[in-house]
Symmetry: C2
Subunit: 169 residues, 2 copies
DNA sequence: CACAGTTAGTTGAGTGTTCAACCACAAACG
DNA sequence: CGTTTGTGGTTGAACACTCAACTAACTGTG
């Protein structure tokens, strides 16, 4: 017997409509199917993306994104905190990741002018080359496993759905 | 300058239309926006889900899913390989995870009858209780961060999109 | 200008995932 | 039947992420 298998019997009628004491708003059968399909799809998709990048370019997708953001920035460099914000990454995660990218010679740290607490992450030429080498295979994977599987209407819908999910926080 | 910033100049006209030698099919500006919105949405969403479960139930979402699948199975038990298949999990990941769940007293291993290589993962009463305690908060989070943000049409679309992405592999 | 509070960033420990190597048993094959 | 090949599952090392604690420098306030 699954725990949230179906809508359970309602609690007493005088319960408040929300809050910690309220009965859980279980998913109905259709929602349950949508939820599991969504989990399955994202799992399969990101596994493909991650796998392709790891196999062909020896980097996790998160590191690829760091390189992309840096490559787009003026002077191919960005303050650590600014980079973390754009990537929706914790400072800690970014700090660890940049350390590894630095060891690989793809990124270099430079202390920020005017704020002695601050550091810039700078994309090196080697880093740019690694990104340029990785990009075609990665884009192809995104096409194959995402865009090619959807109709133009579905792509539009996915865009709107994504923005709705990301809205507020 | 971003690496895949726009559609690049086409290569020689006698190039093959696909294969490793073909020019990359870069994302156009709209696809790029959709792709980034999708990444952002999934990142935000899973961070919420993971965070809620970690805070309130001290388990990662992957472990919650193991408990759910076991709770749904006859005798609350499943062969390791069957469980791995249903979760789209590697055997290694599942093996490590079940070891931890075993240490927590939430799952127990039982050798499978008839195949001395095989093992069953069995949900314990403590495990069921932990799942039952975690479920309401988790379901609420799924509602808040997914279903509540979408219109019924969008939920339907998300279901179809998810199935399309998961189709074939 | 002292000092309380905030911001930038790093660090290390703990946890989870991957990958390749591995052992034990089962099935298939000549 | 004995040997090969496949399957079920585990293991340990390497890597990545999280969380909390921490240092250092900046900012605002009286």
């Amino acid at each position: 017997m699954p725990v949230p298998s179906s809508v359970p019997a309602e609690g007493p009628a005088d319960r408040p409509p929300t809050g910690p004491g309220a009965p859980p708003r279980w998913l109905d059968a259709g929602e349950q199917r949508t939820w599991r399909a969504f989990l399955e799809a994202t799992r399969i998709f990101f596994e493909q993306i991650e796998g392709q990048l790891q196999r062909d370019a020896a980097m996790p997708h998160g590191y690829y994104e760091i390189l992309v953001r840096l490559s787009e920035a003026p002077n191919r460099s960005l303050r650590m905190s600014e980079l973390a914000d754009r990537l929706l990454s914790s400072r800690s995660r970014l700090s660890h990741a940049v350390s590894r990218l630095e060891n690989a010679g793809w990124v270099r740290r430079e202390s920020a002018a005017g704020d002695r607490r601050g550091w810039l992450a700078v994309l090196t030429d080697d880093g740019f080359a690694a990104l340029a080498a990785a990009a075609p295979g990665h884009v192809e994977a995104v096409r194959t496993h995402l865009f090619d599987k959807l109709t133009p209407d579905q792509v539009r819908a996915l865009h709107e759905i994504s923005e709705a999910i990301a809205r507020e926080r």
